[in-house]
């Protein structure tokens, strides 16, 4: 089965504005569209979808989500943190960014937001080259083929943006949304970005998102990603971070289950001194699913990577974790460590883990550890000596298992929101 082949007929009407786009942007779309008919849906034999291919069933029949939805940012219990931290909100309704938000954001110092269709020729050429060089995989091609509403965010050199940028992806009604964002951080800049996927829980809806970050020399990005509500939809997103000399990336993601939950997270340490610190928590229940694929490419020497993912699967849900560290031939003096710990709470749940190391340089220190298993009985005992029941002790430790990671997020308001959400899910009442 080929992926979304019937799109070619539908899309013509949606590509408004593309004719006036710079030639490189038009070329980017043409190339991706030419590829689409030949891109196949993942099968059992597709290594990167080995454990999740079944979850993609039916996706190819989806049409595009309506672009005529009201574009407002959403505030409910799960998004209240946004006010607490006074985030600069960029709402994307069904993949399209609200124009007023662009105007508003551009009033800020150091931030420039433009549509791909409106960028100048040289920027367009850069965007094209970047996509040609890096985009891989079925879903990235799909996103690119219809991403003419994609936006470019540029952060000016040496500017420290105090306000977190909240990219709020709102899904209304059925169909596919294909948000695409390209963030260019010039050297020495600092930025916090939150990606929040919010859905009205319609059946047959899906996101195929794509976010690129180029983090310039000595620049710093703190990146948050979450989907606190919405249980029906499919969410297949790619994040790609390219780090220059001495750049730093810190990421925190909270992945809650979906029909298909998938995050492909690529980090390319392309120049010496770059470092990344990836933290993730994934909790699923009922028949949900989430698949985290992280890929850290140590391309340059003297870079450091740290990764810490914790997963809990309950009921009949499934969690996949595939963590890859690839140390290229020249990447001497690399330090890489990855820890992935998992808990299975029910006899019907499943966890599949694949921590991979691919190493071509000898002077490196690299380690990974993965566990699937039970709570530490010494800890259970300690809590019980203080009068907690067995159930209470286990519940508290189960929540603690993921909170240890959540509490490391620098925006405490966000960590609080995540904590209350997790306490709810893991049915622990304070």
């Amino acid at each position: 089965m080929t992926l979304f082949s019937e799109f070619s007929s539908v899309q013509a009407g949606l590509n408004t504005g593309l004719e006036s786009a710079p030639e490189a942007i038009q070329q980017m779309h043409r190339e991706a569209r030419a590829l689409l008919p030949s891109v196949a849906m993942p099968t059992r034999r597709t290594e990167s979808w080995k454990y999740s291919f079944r979850r993609t069933a039916g996706l190819e029949t989806l049409g595009l989500a309506s672009s005529n939805q009201s574009s407002t940012s959403i505030t409910d219990a799960t998004t209240r943190y946004a006010e607490d931290i006074q985030a600069l909100v960029l709402p994307f309704t069904n993949g399209l960014l609200c124009p007023q938000a662009i105007t508003k954001a551009n009033e800020r110092d150091g931030i420039k937001i433009q549509r791909f269709n409106e960028v100048n020729e040289s920027l367009a050429a850069e965007i094209l080259a970047h996509a040609q060089k890096n985009d891989r995989g079925e879903f990235e091609t799909l996103n690119r083929s219809l991403s003419n509403h994609a936006i470019l965010i540029t952060i000016t050199k040496n500017v420290k943006v105090e306000t977190p940028l909240l990219l709020q992806y709102i899904q209304q009604g059925e169909g596919l949304s294909l948000p695409r964002v390209f963030v260019q951080q010039e050297s020495g800049s600092e930025l916090q970005v939150i990606e929040d996927f919010i859905s009205d829980d319609a059946n047959n809806s899906a996101w195929v998102s794509h976010t690129d970050f180029v983090i310039g020399a000595n620049a710093r990005l703190t990146y948050y990603r979450m989907n606190l509500n919405g249980k029906q939809q499919a969410l297949a997103g790619t994040t790609r971070c390219i780090l220059k000399r001495d750049a730093a990336l810190e990421s925190h993601s909270l992945c809650l289950g979906a029909d298909l939950g998938r995050h492909d997270f690529h980090v390319l340490l392309t120049e010496p001194g770059a470092n990344c610190d990836l933290n993730g928590v994934c909790v699923t229940r009922n028949k949900e699913h989430f698949d985290n694929h992280t890929n850290i490419e140590h391309i340059a020497p003297n870079c450091t990577s740290n990764e810490n993912y914790r997963c809990i699967a309950d009921d009949a849900s499934q969690i996949v974790f595939n963590g890859r560290i690839h140390i290229h031939r020249d990447a001497q003096k690399t330090l890489g460590s990855m820890s992935n710990k998992n808990l299975i709470l029910s006899s019907q749940a499943e966890i599949d883990a694949k921590p991979e190391l691919e190493i071509y340089a000898d002077d490196v220190k690299c380690a990974h550890g993965t566990t699937i298993g039970q709570l530490n009985e010494k800890e259970v005992y300690y809590l019980k000596t203080r009068g907690l029941s067995d159930d209470q002790a286990r519940q508290m430790l189960t929540l603690g298992f993921v909170l240890e990671i959540v509490r490391s997020a620098p925006i405490t308001e966000l960590a609080d929101a995540w904590e209350s959400c997790l306490a709810d899910i893991l049915s622990f009442r304070d």
């Binding site: 530490n376 203080r386 304070d430």
Partner: protein, 252 residues
């Protein structure tokens, strides 16, 4: 309050306690001393109900109940508190959350109402100050990243919060500097009252300068071989265990 008769216990099929007798009345402070490997920690763990230790003889009566029949948490709710020699670190579970759950369980068991959040916070801040730890410790994971001395003080803080009837301190003094030792001792002394009892398991006489015991017992080879008043501790300090006919290495 506590009546231990001919208590025998094994760990990993090794017989550690070989018929231990001990009687503790409300209001008393007992010190249990003895060489390494004599069974001091085993006694503490058995009283708390650690499943790794198997009781294979004897009885323990605690306030008219058969203690050995009670689960770990039932013992805790009945007022037994063990201050661990090596408190475990539990990252991700905050001290506050943990203590409040523990406290409410114990209160519920006693037929009391749950403590309100505000009242609890007030109490917690008061007690943490008492053991000279910063209030920020309350928000951190249980013992997470605490130094040895901080862990011990945190144990005492928990004890002060939970107000046990019988506190068992398992080598709480080991590895403490003199200031920390004083803080721990003040905590224990604050707990002393006519309706509460304390068992201190210790290796050194030092702690007993600050918490003066009513009775001192020497534990060796899985039995209590000598009991006396506080002067016994001084004698031990002076003469070692040799004069009691114990070879310290032998006891291991």
């Amino acid at each position: 309050m506590l009546e231990i008769k001919e208590l025998k216990a094994t760990v990993e099929d090794k017989q550690i306690l070989k018929g231990l007798n001990l009687s503790v009345k409300a209001g008393e402070v007992h010190a249990i001393m003895g060489p390494n490997g004599s069974g001091k920690s085993t006694l503490s763990q058995v009283l708390a109900g650690n499943g790794a230790y198997e009781v294979n003889g004897g009885s323990v009566d605690y306030q008219g109940k058969d203690l050995l029949e009670l689960s770990i948490e039932e013992r805790a709710r009945e007022g037994i508190f063990l201050a661990f020699q090596y408190p475990v670190e539990i990252p991700g579970v905050s001290n506050l959350q943990f203590l409040r759950t523990a406290m409410n369980n114990i209160r519920q068991h006693r037929g009391e109402n749950e403590i309100s959040a505000a009242e609890f916070m007030k109490l917690a801040k008061e007690k943490i100050k008492q053991v000279n730890l910063d209030a920020s410790f309350l928000k951190r994971g249980v013992n997470e990243g605490f130094s040895g001395g901080e862990k011990k003080r945190n144990e005492i803080m928990q004890m002060l919060m939970l107000e046990p009837s019988l506190a068992i301190l398992d080598e709480t003094d080991s590895g403490l500097d003199i200031d920390a030792l004083r803080i721990v001792a003040d905590g224990v002394n604050a707990l002393r009252s006519p309706d509460k009892a304390v068992i201190m398991v210790t290796h050194y006489q030092r702690l007993l300068d600050y918490i003066v015991p009513d009775f001192v017992h020497v534990l060796a080879g899985g039995k209590i071989i000598k009991s006396g008043g506080k002067e016994l501790a001084l004698e031990l300090e002076e003469k070692g265990y040799g004069w009691l006919g114990i070879d310290a290495d032998d006891a291991k």
